[in-house]
Amino acid sequence: MSKVKMEVQLGPLRLQNPVLVASGTFGYGSEYADLVDLNRLGGIMVKGTTLHPRAGNPMPRMVETAAGCLNSIGLQNVGVEAFIHEKLPFLRQYRCAVIVNIAGDSYEEFEQLAERLDGVDGVHALELNISCPNQEKGGIHFGVDPEATRKVVSRVRRRTRLPLIVKLSPNVTDITVNARAAVDGGADILSLVNTFVGTAIDAKTRRFKLANITGGLSGPAIKPLALYMVWQVAQAVKVPLIGMGGIMNATDAVEFLLAGASAVAVGTANYLNPRVSIEVLEGIEQYLREQGEKDVKDIVGTVKRCKPESEF
């Protein structure tokens, strides 16, 4: 069995392989440690972290939809201090990269978070969650307004030497505009997509199914939309991309690589199969062998037009 090279270099961030787990879908790693060998993951994007602990939204917070789910967790998290003191020590034991997803309600909060995490042992990169659709204030606004995106990124940029990943919201007219704004602001890497805003109604009770009315759609349902956005952004900017949105298996992950993502993140799929990230990793390796490829980076962005008039 020939070995394929899985290491990837995303700008300043080196990953032992391109398979990450998406923020909010893998907790702080410890929850999965007995089921998944964390040492094998490319990286863990931890739950969205805020300056102060947050209790989150009222229940119900999640609802299943056709091939997807809506969530409105409301950034329930332990806050940055507890993260550093209670969660990070555990993660430091492992080889995989630890990427801290940070969310603030203001420019200042983002700056404070970046500053606090800068230089903290065991933190390998920051992911700016400017696209979280669940917050009442702030969240939605940074991500959809290119100028606010540029500004928050550049302000954070000045407070940290950590590799800076900016997570893009898909709820925009032209995601390449926001992508360019993030790069202009100093993003080293872009990750996309976050969830799509949606809602669900219970016909019988005639009420919304989520306490918060709206939630973010994730899962297989959004894969065609996410894949398109990754491909679009790959044409528009030069920084490496982390692709996500509905990845359920290795084939899905390969599609994101072909579309132009240098790495992928597995999200919702972790809920239904705790081991899926490892299966994705092994599946990509197998795919590369079948395709006669020796290095995962050689397939990034190599998707071609389909043969004209070919049968389906």
Binding site: G24, E31, P58, P60, M62, A67, Q76, P220
Partner: protein, 271 residues
Amino acid sequence: MRCAEYCEVVANRQVATSQFEIQLHSPVVARHAQPGQFVQMRVQSGYEPLFGRPFSVFRTFPERGDFSVIYLVRGTLTQLLAQKRRGDTVFVVGPLGNRFLVRQPAGEVLHVLVAGGVGAPPLYLLAEELVQKGVPRQQVVVVNGARRHDLLVCQEHFAELGVHLWAVTEDGSLGEKGKVTDILKGLSQRGELPSGRCQVYACGPSAMLEAVAKFAQKHDLPCQVSMETMMPCGLGVCLGCAVKVRTSNGIDYKRACVDGPVFDAAEVVWA
């Protein structure tokens, strides 16, 4: 110790109207499951339903490496589950969650197990454990309730244990007529629930849990409830299973899947 794997179906048989007991082969669950713990089971057709569903462990057969749950056919997943035959597989993650805490010394406590409908299975596992650990059978009181006789489960299993068993149905079609709290009131009035020497454990529909919790509070009885919420992950990461609780710092959310499903009734903020 937990597993996350496809488990073979050993048997899948009807035990009451719309209720089935499915026996699965999983040495890990069989060996490690504690009373009150659950497994997350997933059966999909296409991507529907997307997530697994939680089911309380009912019986364990450690020597054979099997365990079973009783499920009520409600929606997509349980409908698919009911179609499973011996030899088919079901994806199982577990055992998960915390367990009912047994007050010590167990032999000196009156254990009052209050079950509603398909809430009975985990209480059976608890009763079995209590008896096996040597708690005198008359100190295990089981109040097993349902809407109708054909929805009552585990009755014969409780009976076999020889515990002090009450059956109660809302329409009176089996046992007493009424609700589980009616039985509790009766016991209390007859002085059979001494507050200092009692522990109540309840599992069933939310409305029942709330009623039992209020009863327990009123009579100053310690009470544990197994909460039902949706559980997308079962592993503590999605935060979709939040239960509102009272803490020293005010109101907070706990996760039913890892901080529960068993909660001290006194800390739960009812809807």
